[in-house]
Amino acid sequence: MNIIGVIGAGVMGRGLAQDLAQHGHQVLLNDISEEILADAKSSIAQNLRAQKMLGQNPKITESTDTIIARITTSTELDFMGDAHFVVENVTEKWNIKKHIYPKLDTICHKDVVFAANTSAISITKVGSLTSRPDQVLGIHFMNPVPMKHTVELIKGYHTSEKSLDVARTFLGSFGKRSVLVNDAPGFVSNRVLMLTINEAAWLVQDGVASATDVDDVFVSCFGHTMGPLATGDLIGLDTILYSVEVLYEAFNDSKYRPCPLLKKMVDAGLHGCKNGEGFFKY
């Protein structure tokens, strides 16, 4: 299992492709445009260099070029036919995800397990798009992928124990351990986290505290490494909004209503770290 398909070269797809390549896997990285793929390779190179410079774990001993050479890119899905395991990381929108799985199902070998790297979308629903729902599961990687060694492993309604074992072996091959949870909107992590970030945005909107002060309470009082708004900026405010919208839609519960300030910021192009400004400037 050393050829891994990675679909979607956004923040998560890039981090995953980097992590896999630096652990010796061959990576097939797919996205919708050559520009995105070129940008992904360049940002992976930058990341590897920053990691090398900081001597962070995992230590990088190979040259950046050697690691990058393990990543093959294409805007077509056909090359996924060579993959031994596929992780899909496209935008958290059902209308985008739903077109990918039926195609993968025909392209990939019948034994291949598909993992949806999602923070909120139903794994059971994703599985229903394929003829192999027992081989579809969720892996919720944390950001930045190379630095975060534990993931949520999500069992859909039809996911088999065998597929979960395949996923555990795959994860172990690049130093990850997993916590198994059942399929429910937002799983464990994001049902709580997205609501927290959304509520923190309400605090700023309502003038209760500035973004700096909201985060300061979490960092200084609770000892969190990062406050909720900086976390939102790191994940991407667009992703936060999509995830909150998915939760709102899934539960039909008004406690998940997206904060208007969050919506406005996303509409204004303030998506966080990835484009230089969110609740904070980068």
Binding site: Q46, R49, A50, K52, L54, Y282
Partner: protein, 78 residues
């Protein structure tokens, strides 16, 4: 050299308060910055000084203070 130090300080100023920052303070040890900053710093040096930071250059000692970065830029001959 002095001009480069000013440029480095201005770059740092985009991320944290530089008022009390001495030229020798290790900004990584002091906890002012993280890996995201490290990534942006390398990109900034390459773009603004038209130089390449090679794998061999990727030693924290080259980038951990105003002086270290200004010296690195000077050694690169830019």
């Amino acid at each position: 050299m002095q001009q480069n130090k000013e440029l480095v300080r201005a770059f740092f100023g985009r991320f944290f308060e530089t008022g009390n920052l001495t030229d020798d303070l290790d900004i990584f040890k002091a906890g002012f910055v993280n890996s995201l900053f490290a990534m942006q710093l390398i990109g900034w040096i390459e773009k603004n000084f038209s130089t390449t930071v090679s794998d061999e250059d990727l030693n924290l000692a080259n980038f951990n203070s105003v002086n270290a970065i200004a010296n690195f830029i000077e050694r690169k001959g830019v």
